[in-house]
């Protein structure tokens, strides 16, 4: 579904990705793990068209997307739930969700999607008239994910959804991601919570200083010496 070949990118000449190759198949949950500064965020920024790669290609369902602007990439079905959530704080919960369906013209479809998101996150329905900025961290994260689901994504990229969220809520969110995946949405999970991410992911890639240093199934990586030493502190 998504193929990335020898991707290089950086900021003002400082390379953050030094040739990353990976692929995501339809129906998978693929984990991207690594420490701060490993290039995880740069990688998904490049996928979403927020930065332009200097080398390499990104292909989604046979279309090259590395030269497209962000809104075209969204139209193709790749939705990113960014780190830090990037909600529209002064707008209400429902307005935020509707903006998630910005590219959908069919009112009926928007309503259906809204009901779907409310069924997954009932708390959002209770709070729908509230400004997004008044929600708690966990609720904001749910809103960010809900907003991402509003456009029926084919590939949902979730970046650091556990950041600033209580552990019990993280568990809930991960459970919901699993459900969403079982309903047909492919998920790319970028996480610093390595253990939880590997348990959830079918496959995962380990990023270090802008390179993929290891990949395999979640289980394999959990057992590998590299992951245990570097990320799990075992």
């Amino acid at each position: 579904m998504l193929e990335i070949v020898n991707l290089k990118a950086g900021y003002r000449g400082v390379p953050a990705l030094q040739g990353v190759t990976l692929e995501v198949h339809k129906g998978e949950i693929v984990g991207i793990i690594g420490s701060n500064g490993a290039g995880k965020s740069t990688l998904i920024r490049a996928i979403s068209g927020l930065i332009k790669p200097t080398e390499g290609t990104i292909t989604f369902k046979g279309t090259r997307i590395d030269t497209l602007p962000s809104h075209e990439i969204v139209r193709l079905g790749i939705i990113q739930v960014p780190e830090g959530r990037h909600l529209f704080g002064k707008q209400t919960v429902e307005e935020n969700l509707k903006l998630g369906a910005y590219l959908i013209k069919d009112e009926k479809k928007i309503k259906d999607n809204l009901e779907y998101v409310y069924s997954i996150f009932p708390i959002l329905k209770e709070r729908k008239k509230q400004r997004a900025e008044t929600l708690s961290g966990g609720q904001q994260q749910m809103l960010a994910i809900g907003r991402g689901l509003m456009s029926n994504p084919e590939l949902l990229i979730v970046d650091e959804c556990s950041l600033g969220v209580a552990p019990i809520v993280v568990e809930e969110i991960f459970k919901i991601l699993k459900t969403i995946n079982s309903q047909g949405t492919t998920i790319m999970l970028v996480e610093q919570k390595v253990h939880e991410a590997l348990e959830l992911a079918h496959r995962a890639y380990v990023l270090q200083t802008g390179r993929v240093v290891m990949h395999g199934t979640g289980e394999e990586l959990l057992k590998s010496e590299l992951v245990q030493k570097a990320y799990l502190g075992i």
């Binding site: 809104h71 529209f88 910005y102």
Partner: protein, 286 residues
């Protein structure tokens, strides 16, 4: 007399509000302080003047035409200038609109001379007396027109899909891009809308105000101060700031000295931003 001055101040403030709203909108969406804003007010005043002289259309009725013309002009200016500086350093954003303002003012002097012009007889004229308070009807009509246009713009931003996108970009550009919002297209539209506000105000002002090229500097400065006073990025704040400036202008002009009225406006502004740098209703992002 006091009530008289308050009424005059609020009438004036309503028109300033409309100008300021446009400036605030443009700032919110693209982080550009449009120093050419006053020049667009001036262009609309001339458009209304020639509408009156050549086509015999009253400036009040010319307002919708001015809105359309200035909206289109705004979109064109965005396409040929603004879009190239929007992501540039702050100085280039500043100089681009500053230069544009200078260009437009000097172009107006060249084309239409620096002389003062007025529209002799607007369709609304005369004075309305309530007790001791006298309300000049042309000013009242312009103020009501400004409130109407401002309310429509406000509703548009709050209630429509495009308006929601405008708010989203003002709040979080990256978040908006990730929703599939075409940032450039909405920015072009917003620039047009902001300039259209200036255009509506210019046409409405033309019914009673002197029309001359340098009127641009005055209105540009007033709008800038109103927006800074109310808080950058807050449309409501810009409205409030503009009303305050209208009041300071009339009250200060009477109780202190007419020559000092603009000095007073800027003094109040300085006072407020010293205490509250983000402005009265600002979100604190400058």
């Amino acid at each position: 007399m006091f009530i008289q001055l308050v009424v005059s101040g609020l009438l004036l403030g309503c028109i300033y509000s409309l100008i300021s709203m446009g400036l605030s909108l443009i700032w919110g969406v693209m982080g550009i302080v449009n120093f050419a804003h006053g020049a667009f007010v001036m262009l609309a005043m001339y458009a209304a003047y020639y509408g009156d002289q050549l086509l015999r259309i009253d400036p009040l009725l010319f307002t919708p035409v001015a809105i359309v013309l200035l909206f289109l002009l705004g979109v064109i200016v965005y396409q040929i200038i603004i879009q190239y500086v929007v992501d540039g350093p702050y100085v280039s954003r500043l100089l681009a609109t500053f230069g544009l303002g200078f260009f437009l003012i000097n172009m107006a002097q060249f084309l239409w001379s620096p002389n003062f012009r007025t529209i002799k007889e607007s369709m609304v004229h005369g004075v309305w007396k309530i007790g001791t308070v006298m309300i000049e009807l042309p000013k009242l009509a312009s103020s009501l027109g400004s409130i109407l246009v401002a309310a429509l713009v406000f509703l548009f931003i709050r209630k429509t899909r495009t308006g929601q996108a405008i708010q989203a970009i003002s709040a979080d550009k990256m978040g908006a891009a990730l929703m599939g919002i075409n940032l450039k297209r909405i920015a072009a539209f917003s620039f047009g809308l902001g300039i259209a506000c200036a255009g509506a105000a210019g046409s409405l002002l033309a019914t009673f105000y002197y029309i001359f090229p340098d009127v641009a500097s005055l209105f540009g400065l007033i709008a800038l101060v109103a927006v800074a006073l109310g808080g950058f990025g807050s449309v409501e704040g810009a409205f409030l700031g503009a009303l305050i400036l209208g009041l300071v202008e009339t009250l200060g002009g009477y109780y202190v000295d007419p020559n000092w009225k603009y000095a007073l406006m800027f003094l109040i502004y300085l006072g407020i931003v010293l205490v509250r740098p983000q402005g009265l209703l600002g979100r604190g992002k400058v």
